[in-house]
């Protein structure tokens, strides 16, 4: 597939198929987690909490991959892995917010309490991620292609050759992300079931003894 010929970016324009879908997948997974957090708060089913937490974990994994791939690329196009680009800063901030989610969950031992507090935190984290990733970087100039007067692929991709690869790639990465998330959710549900069975048996034995 031929790609637009641009200075500085050169062939690394093909990173569009890998770096950008990482963020799309992350946003998809965080959105899923956001929905399940609301569902948990409305219904109080701890299984929804397992869904929300594992979707967030997988989303964080994809954000790390996106950050690494972006820094590797920036090293050869912007000259340094980190140049305080508004998008880099916004992403770093929302990544830190989501890291705090994991730490928060790790710090609370009681199941119900952990589920409730982390669901509320997750909703706030998602609400903060939207302006940090979608609004603020667009209000200032960014080094990213397609921002701040830099040519993006959409200005040069006149015959839509890149779109023909990019959109299927996005769908593929979505599916990979969802698949990994379902693996983690299945593991979480199994663990949840086992712990609750154990608790159930313990209570039964305890009652019998008493």
């Amino acid at each position: 597939m031929p790609v637009p010929r641009l200075n500085i970016i050169n062939e690394s324009i093909r990173n569009l198929y890998y770096h950008v879908p990482m963020w799309f997948t992350m946003i998809l997974l965080f959105t899923g987690s956001f929905i399940y957090s609301i569902k948990y708060l409305r219904g109080g089913n701890l299984r929804d909490d397992v869904y929300a937490s594992q979707l967030t974990n997988t989303g964080i994994f994809f954000s790390i991959l996106g950050m690494l791939s972006g820094m590797e690329w920036a090293n050869y196009t912007w000259g340094a892995p980190w140049s305080n680009d508004p998008k880099q800063l916004g992403t770093a901030m929302s990544m830190l917010i989501y890291f705090a989610y994991i730490i928060l969950r790790g710090g609370l031992k009681d199941d119900e309490k952990r589920a409730k507090i982390s669901a509320v935190y997750n909703i706030f984290a998602y609400a903060l991620m939207i302006p940090l990733l979608w609004v603020l970087p667009r209000m200032v100039d960014s080094l990213h292609p397609g921002n701040g007067g830099n040519p993006g692929f959409n200005q040069y991709d006149l015959d839509s050759n890149m779109r023909m690869v990019f959109y299927p790639a996005v769908i593929g990465w979505f599916l990979i992300g969802l698949w990994i998330a379902t693996l983690k959710i299945r593991w979480g549900l199994l663990k949840f079931e086992k712990e609750n069975n154990f608790q159930f048996e313990f209570e039964k034995n305890h009652n019998n003894n008493a």
Binding site: N10, E11, R14, Y18, L65, S69
Partner: protein
Amino acid sequence: MKKRIIFNLSLKKTIITMRKASFITTLLILITAIISKAQTANEPEMADTMRSNGKIYVVVLVLATIFAGIIAYLIRIDRKISKLEKNK
């Protein structure tokens, strides 16, 4: 007798951890060697490997990173599942 068994067990554990540590150090040495090589090639002019052929190797690097990341993550999930299976 019991003490001896415990001692053997702990010896085995330390040997395993030492093996793991040596594996990690070899990996680290390899990575630093690669990075230092890339940096020395970076200094004099633009014609280093990463920038050759229209920076196509940047794409290769990114692909390799993502692939390695996904494999590592899947192996972690695999370990977690086996741990769950063992505790049945």
